[in-house]
Symmetry: C2
Subunit: 151 residues, 2 copies
DNA sequence: CTATCTGCAAACCGTTTGCAGCGTT
DNA sequence: AACGCTGCAAACGGTTTGCAGATAG
């Protein structure tokens, strides 16, 4: 599954006329599998394990390419909006741990009626919506109970 | 209503032990009334009309104070997460124009069931949710139809 | 009168750009 | 062989900090 998904990303990259290089392969492999939102430096550190010559600039440039292809997207949190994650597919929404950034997508919201109502009341033409749940993942719950929600 | 709300903000500021100064009054007055998300420079430019000696640094510091008091909050958009707006009250959610930043709060979502389900399925303890609709406000719709969604 | 706030200038730091050399195709 | 990609170093720009003087209470 993961191997196939990596392949798919690399093929898309190729189709778009980009070259498949060592640094890009390393970044794609890690982003395909990431279950936490990662900032550019996180990506840099992880990618360097596989590809020691990696430069931070290449991380920025590769994330931009992947983002243009819709494979990766920026994750927004109250304090940090510079993290990246595999993009949502279709109607998925994000559930993210406010402590460690662990993330999972879910689906099943039904906002159709709400959106229609707000559209009528406001006169806006609605293009999209963002729904995101934030909480504490199972491994962060004990930590946070001990420390009363902060360090 | 607006005058009263301005008073309320200033009183809260005072209660917290802060001083009411010219620059702060100017910023509070403008943020209470703002119907568009504003970045620090926008705030600076608008506040300078009322208070010409205003410095940008004071804008940053005042927005932080207001944000700590929960009176103002950061607005997140795909491209720009550094805009501020009067904070949501209670269960309000944001509707924002992706073209001009015009913003309005609405209420009426019922996410309780969804949140409960996701909570069970994921094991996360859910602390909060973000729901935001993005679209084109009435005055931006004509512009964007002409230009096919962008320049 | 004192503590806080202000504006200026400088420091900071994450991100972007310019460029010469390298690697993919 | 040609063109895109890479890493380095330098530039950039928004935000934060240090500080001396101004000002609210």
């Amino acid at each position: 599954m993961t191997v196939t998904e990596t392949e798919r990303w690399l093929e898309l990259l190729e189709q778009k006329g980009s070259r498949i290089t060592g640094p890009r392969k390393a970044i794609v492999e890690l982003m395909v599998d990431a279950d936490h939102a990662l900032n550019p430096v996180d990506v840099f550190d992880r990618a360097r394990v596989k590809y020691p010559k990696m430069g931070l600039v290449t991380v920025y440039r590769t994330l931009e390419v992947l983002s243009d292809l819709g494979l990766v997207e920026r994750v927004h949190q109250a304090d940090d909006c510079h993290m990246y994650l595999r993009a949502a597919q279709g109607h998925e929404h994000l559930l993210i741990c406010s402590c460690c950034g662990k993330a999972a997508y879910f689906s099943g919201d039904d906002l159709g009626m709400l959106i229609q109502r707000i559209s009528m009341e406001s006169g806006f033409s609605i293009q999209g919506h963002w729904l995101q749940l934030q909480g504490l993942c199972q491994s962060c719950q004990p930590k946070k109970i001990q420390t009363q929600q902060g360090e």
